[in-house]
Structure formats: C-alpha cells, structure tokens
C-alpha cells in the first residue's frame, strides 16, 4: 500500500440548551441540580451587573481601561463549577464569573483595573492566578502549576482560559506541547469570541474550528456552545475526569461572543456590524438560562426583581470596598521587588531619587537646595 492512512480524527460539538431554548434531556438531565442552577444564574447576573458598573466607573474617570465580560459569563463559570476548588484556575481577563464563583473577591478585579497591584494579591486558598494582561502567556504557567501537582503526587489539575487571539501566540503552542508530551493534566479552554480587538477570528485561525488546534498534539479536544452553561459543564466534566484520571491534557473550544467593545478604550463600531452583535445578543447565556428556568418553574419575575435588587446592593458594596481602600503606599513598588530589598534599591526608595547627589546630599556639603517654584502654582 504505497498510500496508507496513518491518522483519522474527528471533532465533536456539544450543545445542550440551545439559543432557541431546546434542551437535550439525554445529555442535560441531572447535569446541574436545580438548586445549583439557580445559584449559578444569580452568579452570572451579579457578574453582568458588575460589568455594567465597571463600564460606568471607567466612563466617569473612576477606573482605568476595563474589558467587559458581557456575554461570556457561561464558559468560565461552567469550568469553575465543574472543577474542584483546589484545582488551579489560570485565566485571562474575561473570566470574572469563574473567578468569583471560586471565591475571588470581586473587588480584587476592580482594584486590578483601577491600577492597583493589591488586586492581584490573590489569597493562595483560591488557587487562582491574577488576571493575565499579556496575551497567551499564562497557559505555560498553568502547565507548570499542574506539573508541580503531578510532581508532588497531588490530584490537583490546572485549567487555563484564553481567547482565540491567544492561540496565535507561540507560547500557546509551547504550553499545549509541553502538557501533551510530558503528560501534564491541564484543561485548556479557548473562549472563541470571534474577535481579537478588531481582528476577526479567521486571521487567528482559518481552520473550521479552533478545537482542532489540539490535534497537533494528539490531545483530546471538543467544541461546545460556550453560551450554553449545560454544554460547558458537560465538556468540562469530561475533560476534568480524563485529566485527573489519566494525567493527560484536554482542549475545549467554547464558542461565544464578546457583546461589548474589546475594552473601554475600544469602539467596536469601527470594525464590526451591528447585525452580528444583535444576532449574538439573542444567544446571550443569561437570557437563555432565565427562559429555561422559567419554563421549568424555577424562576419568576418576582424572583428576578429580588435578585436584581440583591445584586445591586452587592455590587455597590464591592465598588465601595474597592474605592475605599487606602491609597497604596508608594514604597510598595519597591518593597515587593525581592524577598529582601537590595541596598541600592533601598536607597532609591528612601530618597525617592536616582541621581547620586540626591541619594547622598553630603556630596554638596550642606548646600541648601530650594526648588524653584512650579509654573502657575
């Protein structure tokens, strides 16, 4: 046989609760207990509201650039729900919902975008790493974290999130390849929201699916409707189970959409059609779940009102905590550079000067320096 087939591969797409409200009983039944569903729904609503408030904070100058999560709540939430609390959760910046479910305080995220590193001081018990701003770099850390667990014989795995744009970076490839070849239990989840700022998905991946990225590594892979919490939970359960039992990685493509601008610094009208956005609004993961819950008798307008009132209070309190924090100590940015501050750096800190005379005024033998007054002050 001069030509023989040496590989065949197939990729599946999972959808359980679709945008039209159809629910697949076979896969969906018992997947998420009703009580949990109500909680998960409430959680998504909180997250959505925080998003809206954050947007306004930025617009009114009370926060820096902020990337809205709107429309993408289901993927990270489904993951966090399916994972153990001590599995590592290594995210990008559109996974607020999952991080909050894990227990990361909401004000951490606000503080981060308010330009305050204290927002990144994640308590170890959350097993979550701070928001990753440089695209595509955190997946390697996830691989290392999971490797450490394996090294120590722990059952912990890692789950990492990233966008479709991130899959173009070399580090994405290296993380996937390390995990696959060294047998490291990482669940890689791409939130394919169709855009990387203004660059459309096919410039990042012109293949029919992002899920097939994983075929390069012989890694198991699946695609799901990322706006369908049920499908997300289904796929994560499968991936997590396999990762935990075999130590092998798994790839999940969650197909979703960024309903808002890329960040508050962006104006998406410059590059995408409103019709596209509108079509996706109809596939909103929150909307979909509410309809389903209502149909199932789990939800009502009254409950919704009650929830929204609660959410508003909660988010307002979060904003208050974030804004109420004392100003950072300006030596903070010196004091955490090293476990022990080198003498030269301590001198910079203590004098707040880099120039030699400023650091050692004895060089000018007591000359009294008066700074000229500032213009117009």
């Amino acid at each position: 046989m001069p030509i023989k087939t040496v590989l065949t591969a197939e990729i599946e797409n999972v959808s359980i609760l679709d945008a039209e409200g159809r629910f697949d009983e076979k896969l969906g039944k018992g997947l998420i207990p009703d009580a949990d569903l109500v909680k998960l729904y409430g959680h998504m609503c909180t997250c959505r509201h925080l998003d809206e408030v954050a947007f306004k904070l930025q617009r009114s100058g009370r926060m820096g650039t902020y990337p809205q999560n709107m429309g993408q709540e289901a993927a990270s939430l489904g993951a966090a729900y399916a994972l153990n609390n001590d599995d590592w959760l290594v995210t990008c910046y559109r996974e607020n919902c999952g991080l909050f479910w894990r227990g990361v305080p909401m004000e951490s995220i606000l503080l981060h975008w308010m330009g305050d590193e204290r927002g990144n001081a994640m308590p170890r018990q959350h097993h979550a790493t701070p928001i990753a701003v440089p695209i595509g770099t955190q997946m390697l850390h996830a691989t290392g974290l999971a490797w450490a667990a394996k090294y120590r014989g722990e059952k912990r795995i890692a789950c990492t999130f990233f966008g479709d744009g991130a899959t173009s970076e070399g580090d994405f490839h290296e993380a996937m390849n390390f995990a696959a070849n060294l047998d490291i239990p990482v669940v890689f989840c791409c939130q394919n929201n169709g855009w990387a700022i203004s660059v459309p998905g096919h410039i990042q991946c012109s293949a029919p699916t992002v899920a097939q990225r994983a075929l390069a590594y012989g890694m198991d892979t699946i695609q799901c409707d990322g706006n369908d919490l049920f499908a997300v939970v289904h796929c994560f359960r499968k991936a997590i189970k396999q990762a935990r039992s075999t130590g092998r990685p798994f790839f999940i493509e969650a197909v979703t959409y960024r309903l808002g601008d890329h960040t508050t610094a962006d104006d998406a009208r410059r590059y995408r059609d409103q019709a596209e956005v509108d079509a996706w609004r109809a596939r909103d993961p929150i909307l979909r779940l509410r309809k389903y819950m209502a149909k199932r008798g789990l939800w009502s307008d009254a409950k919704e009102q009650e929830l929204q009132a609660k959410v508003e209070v909660e988010v307002a309190a979060t904003v208050e905590r974030a804004e109420g924090i004392t100003s950072p100590n300006r030596v903070d940015f010196f004091d955490h550079m090293y476990a022990e501050i080198p003498a030269d750096l301590a001198l910079q800190r203590d004098t707040m000067q880099t120039h030699g005379i400023g650091q050692d005024p004895s060089q000018i033998e007591g000359a009294v320096i008066e700074l000229p007054a500032k213009e117009g002050h």
């Binding site: 820096g64 308010m114 903070d332 550079m337 000067q353 120039h355």
Partner: protein, 322 residues
C-alpha cells in the same frame, strides 16, 4: 504647514512614504480597519487596501519574523508592535535575526524594516503597556533606535527610518501622542538619524534626554531660570555623542533624564562616555534622573515612578551646587 499632533505627523509620514514607494507595507495587530489602537494608522487601510495594510495574527514574533522575510526579499515592511511591553515575544527575531542578517551574510541579505512601537508611561494604561525598553535594543549591535519627542521630528525621523537600509526600532512616546501640536511641513522631509537636536542653549549646565521626558526637562529648565542647554538625542543608536561632548565641555555639568530603570539604562552609557571624553572639563559628577530599578507600577503609582519636573529640577539645582 499644518498644526499636527505627534500621531498625525506619523500618520502623514506613513501616507507619504506609502504613496512614494510601493515596497512599503504595514503589518500588525489592529492596524487595518481599526486604524491601530492609538489611531496612528487611521485611514490607511481604506486608502491603500488590505494588501498594503495588513491585520496580522496576534503573535509578535510572527509579525517581526515574517517582516524580516519581507525585507530580505527587498520590500520595506513597517511592522507595528502594539505596546512596548509586547516587544518581549519578538525579542529573539529582532535581536537574533533582524539585527544580525547583514553581517552574518556579509551583506548578501539585508533587513530594511522599521518597527513602530508606542513607548513609555504616563497614560494610566494596564500593566506592560508603559515600558521603556530602549536600552535593550541600544545594546544590541545591528539595530538603529529612534525616539522622537515632537511632531516635527517624528515625521522627519520616521521617513528617514523607513528609507534606512537597516533595521530601525522607532519608539513613539505615547504620552505625547496628542499632548501638543506643532507646525509640520506637509511636504516630505527627512531628519538625519544620529543627529541630536539642541532644544535650548545655555552655558551653565547640559541636560540630555529623549522621548516624552524631554517635555519634563523643558518644564524643569524653565522653572530653574538657569542657562541650561537641553539636548534631545532623537536617535539613540547611533547617538550623537559629539553634540553631548561639545555641550558638556562648555558647561562642565550634566544631568541625564530617562524613564527606563536607572541600572544599565542608556543614561549609564551617556554618563560613561562623558567621563571618557570630557573628564578634565567636568565640574560635577554626571547625574541620572531615571526610572527606579523596579517594575513600572500600575497606574495609581506610575507618576511616583516616572522622573518628573520636580526630580529633574532637584537634580539640576544639586548639580549646580556641587
């Protein structure tokens, strides 16, 4: 003449070079329909089409690596790296390939590309959006490094960079992208790479700086009321040591100002060169007002990190008192 911001001056330079030379093309993240996250390439996609203004995958090494190939084939690519902090993934292609190609092939292959990068802090951006890595690339033989501090200079220097037969990193100080306007000739013109600009003359002291810090220096100098000569290096490699030498031999005192961390920053090189060349003329040790040897903090503290007119003014007074 038009009264332009730095962003507009660069945009104009790009348009004129693209009109003039169809070997020139742009590539990078969001440079197309979006016109760049700072709108520097605004209108270019519409004007020149998707063949010459190319939205690339999100991969800095890929952007520079393919641009190297484009340049080796004789084109004049202008890749954009979206922010200073994202030069990191492209470091290897820049330093191990673009910078080396000419000499390792003894001239058989050359890499005439111009890498545009917004640089520096002061705009309340997220982390890794406010870095000043120029010293890394000045230390890398084979590159040229440019950083204008005004719209007029930006246009003239960018055109020179694009026409230069060797790889140039063109740093655009984002803090002054729109901070002020300046008269910029509409006709094309070039400014020579490697020549400093004397912003103001003086006999008492020399201040050397580049990029957005030049503006802070001007404020401090004005406040000082002293006769200070301010030299804006404009090109950081090759740099105009002659201008610095002449000035310091005249004034005997010098303050260098830059945003990058002090240790192994380019200020160290200038200071060391001044000692080499002006030793007997120095009346005070050269002082460096620079970023601290820390990570650029998130924006709540960024102004505490960056050299400001206060710190510069202090260094000037103290150097004068030495």
């Amino acid at each position: 003449m038009a009264n332009l911001t730095l962003v507009q001056a660069i945009n104009l330079a790009l348009i004129q070079e693209m009109e003039r030379d169809d070997r020139v093309l742009l590539l990078g993240q969001d440079v197309g329909a979006n016109g760049g996250v700072f709108r520097v390439t605004e209108g270019l996609h519409k004007r020149f089409g998707g063949k010459r203004v190319v939205d690339s995958p999100l991969a800095e090494s890929g952007i520079i690596g393919t641009a190297i190939g484009l340049a080796m084939a004789g084109l004049r690519p202008i890749p954009e790296i979206q922010f200073d902090g994202f030069l990191g993934p492209a470091y290897d292609q820049i330093c191990s390939h673009a910078a080396r190609m000419r000499t390792r092939t003894r001239g058989a292959f050359t890499v005439p590309l111009t890498i545009r990068v917004p640089v520096g802090g002061g705009i309340h951006a997220p982390e890794l959006h406010s870095e000043s890595p120029e010293s890394i690339y000045i230390h890398t033989p084979g590159l040229k490094v440019v950083m204008p501090s005004s719209p007029y200079d930006a246009k003239g220097l960018l055109i020179s960079a694009i026409r230069d037969p060797d790889p140039v990193i063109f740093f655009e100080p984002k803090r002054i992208y729109r901070a002020f306007r300046e008269e910029v000739p509409e006709d094309e013109y070039t400014l020579p790479l490697g020549k400093a600009r004397t912003v103001c003359e003086g006999e008492e002291m020399t201040v050397v700086s580049w990029g957005a810090s030049v503006v802070q220096c001007m404020q401090a100098i004005e406040r000082s009321g002293r006769g200070i000569e301010l030299i804006d290096l404009r090109t950081l490699y090759p740099f105009d040591m002659d201008a610095v030498e002449t000035s310091v031999k005249k004034t005997g005192r010098c303050v260098i100002v830059h945003e990058a961390p002090k240790t192994c920053g380019f200020g160290a090189e200038i200071a060391a060169r001044i000692m080499e060349r002006c030793f007997l003329h120095l009346e005070a040790p050269v002082q460096r007002v620079a970023g601290f040897d820390t990570i650029m903090p998130y924006y709540k503290l960024e102004l505490d990190y960056m050299p400001d007119a206060d710190r510069i003014a202090r260094a000037i007074e103290e150097t004068a008192a030495y």
